[in-house]
C-alpha cells in the first residue's frame, strides 16, 4: 500500500492534464449547450464546410503520406548504399531529425519567402515567363499545403524507415544472385516483401502526422478553414453559433477516432515488422 503513494503525483498529474481533457472531449461531444445529452453535435458534423474539411484533411494527409513515403524511402535507400557509419549517413540522419521537427510558423514563412508573391523562386520563374503570383495556390489545401507538408514528411520517413532498410543484409542479395536472380527478382521477391510492412507502417505514421498538424496551416492560411484542425481552432477562438458550442468537441472526437484507427493498424504492422527483421 505504501508503495502506491509513490506514484500518486504521476497519476494525479496525468489525470488532470490528460485524462480529464480527453473525457471533456468525449463527453462534451454528446452534450448540448445546457448540459443535456444529445446527438446533435454529431449530426452537425454533416454540415458542408465540416464534411469538406474532413475530406480535405484526409486527402491532404494521404497524398503527403504517399509522397513523403516514396521520396523518404528513396532517400533512405540511397543513404544506406553509402559506407556504413560514413559521413553521409550521419549528416543526413541528423539533418532529417531536425527537418522533421521543422514545422509550424517557420516552415510557413520559409515557403512564403520562397514561392509566395514576393518569393525569389516566384520572381525568378516570372523572368522566364511562368506566373505563380497570379493565384493563391500556395494557400490551397490540394496545392500549396501538399507541397509544404511534404517538406516535413520526407525527413520523418527517413528517420522511421532507415533502420528497416539497414536491416537488409547484403548476403540476401548475394544469395539471390547466386541463384541467378536479377535486380528485379531481388526487389520483387526478397527486399520488397521484407520491407513492405515497415513501409506501409511508416506511411500510416506519416498520415497521422499530417492529419494532426495545425500550426503550419494556421500560419500559412489567413482566410477560411479548409482543413479540420483549423475548423476546430475556429470554434475555440471565435464566437460560436448558439447550440453549436460542442460541435468543436465532436470534430475533435472525429479526429481522434480516425487517428486511433490508423495508429492501431500501425501497431499491428509494427509487430509484424519486428518479427521479420528481428529488431
Amino acid at each position: 500500500m505504501g508503495a502506491l503513494l509513490g506514484v500518486i503525483p504521476f497519476f494525479a498529474y496525468t489525470m488532470v492534464f490528460l485524462a480529464i481533457p480527453t473525457l471533456i472531449v468525449v463527453v462534451g461531444s454528446f452534450l448540448d449547450g445546457s448540459g443535456h445529452p444529445t446527438l446533435g453535435n454529431l449530426t452537425a458534423l454533416a454540415q458542408p464546410q465540416i464534411v469538406s474539411a474532413f475530406i480535405h484533411s484526409t486527402v491532404l494527409s494521404a497524398v503527403t503520406a504517399v509522397l513523403g513515403a516514396v521520396f523518404g524511402a528513396l532517400l533512405a535507400y540511397a543513404v544506406s548504399t553509402g559506407r556504413e557509419g560514413g559521413q553521409l549517413r550521419r549528416i543526413v540522419s541528423s539533418l532529417c531529425g531536425v527537418l522533421a521537427q521543422f514545422g509550424g510558423v517557420t516552415l510557413a514563412f520559409a515557403f512564403v519567402a520562397t514561392v509566395g508573391f514576393q518569393g525569389f523562386v516566384t520572381l525568378w520563374l516570372q523572368n522566364i515567363g511562368i506566373d505563380l503570383a497570379g493565384s493563391t495556390w500556395l494557400f490551397e489545401p490540394y496545392k500549396g499545403l501538399i507541397l509544404v507538408y511534404t517538406y516535413f514528411q520526407i525527413p520523418l520517413m527517413l528517420i522511421v524507415f532507415l533502420p528497416a532498410v539497414e536491416g537488409l543484409r547484403p548476403q540476401w542479395r548475394e544469395a539471390a544472385e547466386s541463384l541467378g536472380g536479377s535486380t528485379w527478382h531481388y526487389w520483387r521477391h526478397v527486399a520488397g516483401p521484407i520491407l513492405a510492412p515497415s513501409f506501409i507502417g511508416a506511411m500510416l505514421l506519416l498520415f497521422t502526422n499530417a492529419f494532426s498538424a495545425y500550426a503550419t496551416a494556421a500560419a500559412l492560411i489567413s482566410q477560411g478553414s479548409p482543413i479540420i484542425p483549423l475548423q476546430i481552432g475556429g470554434t475555440l477562438s471565435s464566437e460560436v453559433i448558439l447550440g453549436q458550442e460542442n460541435v468543436g468537441k465532436a470534430m475533435a472526437l472525429g479526429m481522434v477516432a480516425i487517428v486511433a484507427v490508423v495508429m492501431t493498424l500501425y501497431v499491428a504492422l509494427e509487430r509484424r515488422t519486428t518479427k521479420w527483421l528481428g529488431r
Binding site: G6, T106, V256
Partner: protein, 272 residues
C-alpha cells in the same frame, strides 16, 4: 566480382542523384529565407534586418512582442523540463523497483499523447485552463503543464531506454543496505547513472517547447512562435529572420543531442 563492381558504380550514381534532388528541395525554402531577409529596398543586398534582430535595444523598444515571446519561451523551457524530470524519473524508477505490475499502465499513459493531436488536447484543456487561470493567474508560464503532456512520449522513451540499461534494483538495494534513504537513492545513485537519458529527454523537450505554437496561440498566451507569427503581420523580413535564427538554435540543440550518448531519436515529432 565484376557484377558487384558494376552495381556499386550504379548505386553511387543513384545515391548522388537522389540525395542531390531531395537536398535541393530541402535547401530552397531555407535559401528563400536568407534571400528574403537580405533584400535591400532598391534592389541589392543588405544585412540591416539581421543587425536589427541582434540589436537588443531596438528589439526592446520597437518589437516588445518578440522580447515577451522569447522570455516566455525561456521560462516555459525551464518549467517544462523541470516538471517532466521531477515527475517522470522518480515515478519510473519507483515503478521498476516496487510496482512492476504498473509498468504497462505507466507506459500506456505516457505514450497516449501520441494518439491525441495537440489541437484535440487544446479543446479538452480549455475548461482545465479556466481553472488554472482562476487559481494561478493568466501567466503564459502555466502552458508548461500542457507542454509536459506533449513531451511525455518522447521523454518516456528516452528515460526508459536509460533505466533499462542499468540494474536499477541492485543499485537501489545496495544503496539501501548501506543506509541510504529514498531521496539519496534517487539523487545520488539513479540520477547520475541515467544522466545521458535525462539529457536526451531534456533536449527533446527543449526542441518541442521552442517550436510549440498550437496551444499557446489558441489560448492567446505568449510564446516565441506566437510572437514570430504576430511579427510576420507587421514586419515580414524581421519575422522571417527571427524564425530562421530560432530554427538554427533548435538545430544546434538537436545536433548536440546526437552527440550525447548514442543519440537515440524519437520516431515522431509534434507540432507541424
Amino acid at each position: 566480382m565484376k557484377l558487384r563492381a558494376t552495381r556499386r558504380r550504379k548505386q553511387t550514381i543513384f545515391r548522388r542523384v537522389v540525395v542531390g534532388m531531395i537536398g535541393l528541395f530541402f535547401a530552397l525554402p531555407l535559401l528563400g529565407m536568407v534571400e528574403f531577409t537580405t533584400r535591400a529596398p532598391g534592389g541589392g543586398r543588405t544585412l540591416d534586418t539581421w543587425a536589427t534582430l541582434f540589436d537588443f535595444n531596438v528589439i526592446d523598444a520597437d518589437y516588445p512582442e518578440l522580447k515577451t515571446g522569447v522570455l516566455a519561451s525561456a521560462g516555459l523551457v525551464l518549467l517544462t523540463v523541470a516538471i517532466m524530470l521531477i515527475m517522470l524519473v522518480p515515478t519510473m524508477t519507483w515503478v521498476r523497483l516496487r510496482l512492476p505490475g504498473l509498468r504497462r499502465t505507466v507506459e500506456f499513459i505516457c505514450l497516449l499523447p501520441l494518439t491525441i493531436p495537440a489541437i484535440v488536447l487544446v479543446v479538452g484543456l480549455a475548461p482545465v485552463y479556466a481553472w488554472v487561470s482562476y487559481f494561478l493567474g493568466e501567466s503564459s508560464l502555466w502552458l508548461a503543464f500542457a507542454y509536459v503532456v506533449l513531451v511525455l512520449p518522447y521523454a518516456y522513451r528516452a528515460l526508459d531506454a536509460g533505466l533499462s540499461a542499468i540494474d536499477v534494483k541492485t543499485l537501489a538495494e545496495a544503496a539501501r543496505s548501506l543506509g541510504a534513504g529514498w531521496p539519496t537513492v534517487m539523487w545520488r545513485i539513479i540520477l547520475p547513472n541515467v544522466r545521458t537519458a535525462v539529457l536526451s529527454a531534456s533536449f527533446l523537450s527543449v526542441a518541442l517547447v521552442l517550436g510549440e505554437f498550437t496551444i499557446a496561440s489558441l489560448f492567446s498566451r505568449d510564446n516565441l512562435q506566437v510572437a514570430i507569427n504576430q511579427l510576420g503581420k507587421r514586419d515580414a523580413s524581421l519575422a522571417i529572420a527571427a524564425a530562421f535564427a530560432f530554427m538554427v538554435i533548435a538545430f544546434l540543440v538537436l545536433f548536440a543531442m546526437s552527440f550525447v550518448g548514442n543519440g537515440r531519436r524519437s520516431s515522431r515529432p509534434e507540432e507541424n
